[in-house]
Symmetry: C2
């Protein structure tokens, strides 16, 4: 394996250089290769592995393969690295392992769900504190709000934020992935916050859209529509559900409300060691949900030049039960 | 181009999906392809480009190429994506563009240096404030120190931290890339801080190692050795210098002091839109420095189980002048 997040999942090793060779013989130990900077760290994080020290980690491991087949991650290995591997593992046939580790990662165990739950709780708490402290008020800039939210998540024990916090206000809220600017919050603005925390490598992801002052009719209309679509998406989460059907459950509600063209992205995505991972919930995706998959559900309606609403939760699919809602902040329209 | 950081460099577009087609004909406009989430953003960040909207951005651009040669980034394109491009651009010959954009990026213009300088100043100021506030004291954990430093950088106007802040204390300081733990700082500890801020996409990178209480003889010895090596490395920075010779200038000092085996990594790296970019200053690298390249100089000595010292600056190589030192925190041994 060359994808570092997959190496981490399989071994616990978190360095920024490394590759893992998993021999066909289950009795043979896995071999982790990294460079000198990480030797002490490997001894601590993955003491049971055989360790090979070489900066060109994947190439050095390939050189150990003298025949048979060498599986590699064709979705990760570049054309340049492929040429090196083919040369080094000269006696072996190179074959794709597909996205085998990603498929394993999509289903979470209890320890992983516990970390996701912690990460989501930090995001919930940070937003509650931000609101209580009057942090969402006219006169502050998007950047100030974003930094405030980030600082609160770190203070509450996050290892990091999950991604660059999105604070999109007024007309900016119509940009799905807006980066905070020096735009000043004003009465009448929709305020869209999309943010998360990481704990032990696991990411939370939540979006809430609030309004500064009494909402206009069109703001309330799209808010309630997105909220209904989000509920429909959540209710469609169950083992065996087709990911396109889950997307449609929410998308059909938006379309019936007359805003199908303004819902510009897929409904959601898996979340775990990466902020975006399998499974995708989208008209373009394929596959079915399974017990203990962690996903986001995040429909949105974006009216260019006016404003937009997105509502997003992180949930865990459960067999024979409601999905487990990890982001518990209210989805009622909050008027500030 | 498919590497997003290269697309950003060439166009200003910062979204998380996108690819850029640069026609051979200089009169023909470049074509940027991304998905619906980023249409508004492209209009703002790169209004002069032709825009194609398709989630499979590189594949959609390849389909526009009907003959001749299609240059692509073999160090970025995966084996899977290469197969798609070859199929879509059926009439064209696929050739490598090598690391052409990375080579351009290695040399900074004035606006880029200004952003690096701002990012470095924020890191300098955050560390000064942390020390003034008594933030580096016995009884605090590595994690607490790291969060404090992160929050101060954000408060001072950083868009983000450059990477996960390294706070490595006592025996942990012997781990070059240690992640903060709940280890409690104690008198007699070396405290190694490696951290940075980003401003406008540009990263700063600085390491300082301090000591809590009166330094032991061995601590002072390796500190002064690393400091002398770091000075030698800085003094070797000039246009035309071979990157291996720059590395040797510092490494020879460490080796002459008897700790050559304990300097586990290269001397430094380019820094800019990425925290690690061209040029590498390392025994394994090749090439020469040029005017206005931005690099780090960061030798270290790591004594497993005891502690380690690294001292790192970010500098800009200047023609006919001293390199421009962007990280200005003192390199005298600070005793807390």
């Amino acid at each position: 394996m060359t994808r570092l997040v997959n190496v981490r999942y399989l071994t616990g090793y978190t360095g920024s250089n490394g590759a893992l060779l998993v021999p066909v013989d289950p009795a043979a130990p896995d071999v982790l290769c990294t460079d000198g900077r990480y030797v002490t760290q490997v001894g601590r994080q993955a003491p049971d592995l055989d360790l090979l020290v070489d900066r060109a980690s994947a190439a050095a491991l390939a050189a150990r393969v003298t025949g048979g087949r060498l599986g590699y991650e064709t979705h990760d290995v570049t054309v340049d690295l492929h040429a090196v591997l083919a040369e080094r593992a000269a006696g072996a046939e190179l074959v794709s392992v597909q996205r085998a580790v990603e498929a394993l990662r999509a289903v979470k165990d209890d320890a992983e769900v516990a970390l996701l739950r912690q990460a989501c709780a930090i995001a919930d708490r940070a937003l509650a504190e931000l609101i209580e402290a009057g942090g969402l008020r006219a006169g502050r800039t998007e950047r100030e709000v974003g930094r405030d939210l980030d600082a609160r998540m770190l203070e509450l024990g996050a290892d990091a934020r999950s991604f660059e916090t999105i604070v999109a206000t007024g007309p900016d809220s119509a940009v799905p992935h807006h980066r905070p600017t020096d735009r000043v919050l004003a009465r009448g603005d929709l305020v869209k916050l999309d943010f998360g925390a990481t704990v032990g490598g696991y990411h939370s992801d939540m979006t809430r859209t609030l309004v500064l002052g009494e909402p206009a009719g069109w703001q309330r209309e799209i808010y309630e529509l997105v909220r209904a679509a989000q509920r429909a998406g959540r209710e469609a989460l169950e083992p065996g559900a087709d990911v396109r059907a889950v997307d449609s459950a929410a998308r059909d509600v938006v379309a019936a409300g007359g805003y199908g063209e303004e819902f510009l992205h897929g409904l959601g995505h898996g979340v775990g060691l990466e902020i975006h991972e399998a499974p995708a919930l989208s008209p373009l995706a394929a596959g079915t949900l399974a017990d203990r998959m962690a996903v986001t559900v995040e429909p949105g309606v974006y009216l260019a030049g006016r404003g937009g609403v997105r509502i997003e939760d992180t949930l865990v699919v459960r067999d024979g039960a409601e999905p487990d809602l990890l982001t518990t902040t209210t989805k009622d329209l909050v008027v500030l």
